[in-house]
Each structure stands twice: as structure tokens, then as C-alpha cells.
Amino acid sequence: MLNVKKLKRTFNQDTAGFQDVNLSVKEGEIIGILGTSGCGKSTLLRVLSGLDQHYEGTISIENSNNQIGMMFQEPRLLPWLSVKKNISFGLEKEERNTDKYKTYLDLVGLADFENHYPKDLSGGMAQRTAIARALITEPEILLLDEPFSALDAFTKMQLQDLLISIWQKKKTTMILVTHDIDEALYLCDRIFILKGQPGEVYSEVSVEKPKPRTRGDTYLSKQKAHILNLLNVEKKAAGEQK
């Protein structure tokens, strides 16, 4: 449903950003974009979300009203709105004052916190609110930019499980940018590995294991070793050159 051809966005005379990215995403898939820092993976998401429009190449989204949801590394809640109003933020005016937020409030497990302000939430709760806000508009594609990287290990696992349970209910298509290999293997159907400066798609890894998966599964460990190997190639090459 999403097709990207020859997408390119670079900065500083082609030394940062990404180039020559071709992707096609099927409905209901969770796609991972994995890479070390500085390979343009966040830039790729900004381009797909429409925040950055100075790109070359084509992006086509099928059968949709172009609804895209986005979650950032930080929750980015509006501090002057309560949890329920933050969740309803993306809705049209008529819907904003309805009870629609309740479904999503329950979905992310914050039922008792609807009237709290963001300042009274923990990091994990704030990010749950952000998930609910991103989902309430029922986007065709949900873009996630390292959404759990600022959370502690336990909260992170909880929210990963939450994301999977939401996916089981809604079958939302997602593109997840991350630098956490375990996270990518736990959540994604296909993982694109970005490498270089500017970043290019170096390899594609399929995770053929139905979700929900078990953490520490042998198949996943094998895939992790494979990915580590892929990411390390360049380091070895650089080492040999010295």
C-alpha cells in the first residue's frame, strides 16, 4: 500500500541523510528500519510523514485519504491539555468533544488518568498517551521514530507488547525506526538495514515468525546474529584498511 521509489534526501553536500531508498509496504505489515545513528533513518521517517518535503523520488500511498500517524521519540504531548484532550487532539472539531477517546484510553491502559496533565505522567504513561493520540485518527500507516528508546527496559517491553496487542486488534500498518535489534526482531515482519553516509538500504531481513513472539527465541537469536554480522561488515572493512 505504500510504495517508495528512488527516494533521496541528503544534507551537507550529500554527507548525511539517505539516498536510493526503494520500499514497498503491504497492508498490515510492520516494517523495521534499522541502522546505526547518522544513517538517515529518522530523516526517512520525516520525509514519509510529510514533515520534510525537500526530497527527490516518489512516494505513493494507495487507497487512502493520506492519513498518516506519527509517534516521536518523545511523547510530545501538549502540556496545557489533559490526557483525554491530548488523545483527541488530532480529531475533527465535532468529534473532539465526544467519548471517542475512551476506547483508546482503555486500549493503552490509562483509564484512570484521563484528567491528568502531562506533567503528572511518568515517561511510560506519557508515551502511552502518545500512542493513543496517534491511533485515534485511525491512520492508514503509523510511523514510529524510536518510540521507546528513551524508556527504561521494563517499560519498553510493556509498550512493545502493547503495540503488538494493538496490532492484533487493528492490523495497523507500521513503519518502525529503531536502533534496537531486539525490538526490531520482536515487532517487525521485515527489517530494512540502512548503512552508510548518506544511508542506503544495505539489506533486507524477513522475520518469518508469527506475532506475538517470545523474547529470546532461538530463531530470533539466529536472526540477531545475522543482523549483527551485516552491520559489522563495514567496521571490519574499515579495520582492514588501517
Binding site: 518523545e74 504531548l77 502540556p79
Partner: protein
Amino acid sequence: MISETHKWKVAQRASPQKLSSSKGIFQLGRGILIGTILPIILLIAWEIAARTGLLAAHLLPAPTIILEKIISMYQDGSLFGHISITLTRVFFGFAIGTGAAVVIGAIVGYSKTAERLLDPLFQAIRSIPSLAWVPLFILWMGIGEHSKISLIAVGVFFPVYLNIVAGIQGVDRKLIEVGRIYQLTPYQLTKRIILPAALPSFITGMRSGLGLGWMFVVAAELMGASEGLGYLLVVGQNTYSPDTVIASILLFAVLGKLTDALLKWIEHRSLQWQDSITNQG
């Protein structure tokens, strides 16, 4: 994890002190009690000194005499007239000054071109001591209400303007991006993100603007008025009655404090979402 927005808010709002939120009536009462000890002792000492002739009564009359003066003005009905005309002047001057600052400040804060075009001019005008406008306003508008209200409006304008511009320019880019993800129009973006985010700064500006408004109403009423608290000051000086002067000063203090408390209350009510020291608990 604290979001960067919060950090920014805290940093930005560190300056003005605010109402204690949920400390409870008891603690609030105790705070007031402690705060009044020194003034009460001073008042008693002043009263005794004036009664025993230690202070010359024609220079500094006893507090009870000043109080009597205020009560007599209340009884003959002139007190209400003076207070209401002064309040009216401050109100209109404040409203006009704030209104102009909101419109111009919003344009300058929002558009880079407008900032380059307008801001140098306003900064230049700002550096003129506002009292220097007095003769010009009298020449232009006479000594009626227009010149007084204009003077107050000029005084109120600048602090509000500066704070609005700073508030709008300081809005977190990350929050604006949230608005762009939801494809808000520029109008929606202003209404739903930029204005609420700039509100703390705006209220700070209003409070310093109000302080200046009170300062300028005195100047305006000194320059020629037939009613008002500033006029009482002139009358007291000309009739050699320090009780009138001090009574007028006292009334200014009370009114200034009350109007500021009103803004403070509005601030407290509208900024409960802020992650600041006074909002804890």
C-alpha cells in the same frame, strides 16, 4: 523522563512568584500572619510617635488621622468618584495597550518579515522614556481623557508586546511538528498550539504592563485632572494636607495590589498545567 517542552516551560517560568496552590488555608493564614507582624509594629510605633509629638503632625500625621480622612471621603461620596475614575482610566489604557500589543506582537512573533520590518522601530520607540510623551499628548489631545488613556496605553504596550513576541518565538518546534502531522492550517496551528504555548509569557507581560499602567495613571493625573487619585495627590500638595497625600498613596497601593492579585489568580487558574515549583503536589 521529562520532555523537553517541560524543561523549557520550567526554565521560562522560573521568574515570577505565584500563588501557593494547595498549601491549605492554615498555611496561607500563617503566611499572611507572619507577613503582617512588621507592618503592624511600624504602624503602632508611627501612631505613638505622631501622638507624642515626636513626628511633626503637619508633615506626617498619625495613621488614625489618615484613616479618618479616607472615611470622611467615603462619607461625603468623593472617594468612590476618585477611585472609579482612576480605575476607568487604568482599565481602558490597559485594554487598549494590551489589545494593540497582542495584534502587533502576534504578527511580529509569527512572521520573520514583519519582525525585520517592525521590531527595530518599536525598539527605538521603546527607548523613549514614556513620560516624555506627556507634553506631546497634551498638545495633540488636550488634557482630557484621551491623552491620559493614550499615555497609559503606551506604558502598558511595551512589556506586553515584548513578552508576546518572546513567547511566540519560543514555542517548541517539536510541538509545532505535532500540529503539522495533523495537517493543521496556519490559523488552527496558531489557535491550538502557538497561543496556548505563549500564554505563560503573555500573562507575565500583562502583569508587568499593569504595574506600568498604575505608574502612568499617576503621571497622567498629575499632569492635569479634576478627579482621580492622582488629582488627590496634587490637591494634598497644594492645600498642604499630608493626610490627603498619604491616603491617596495608600489607596494606590491597595488598588494596585488588588488588580495584580486578580491577574495572579487568572494566571494560576489558566496555567495549572505547568510543571513548575509552585504547581507541585
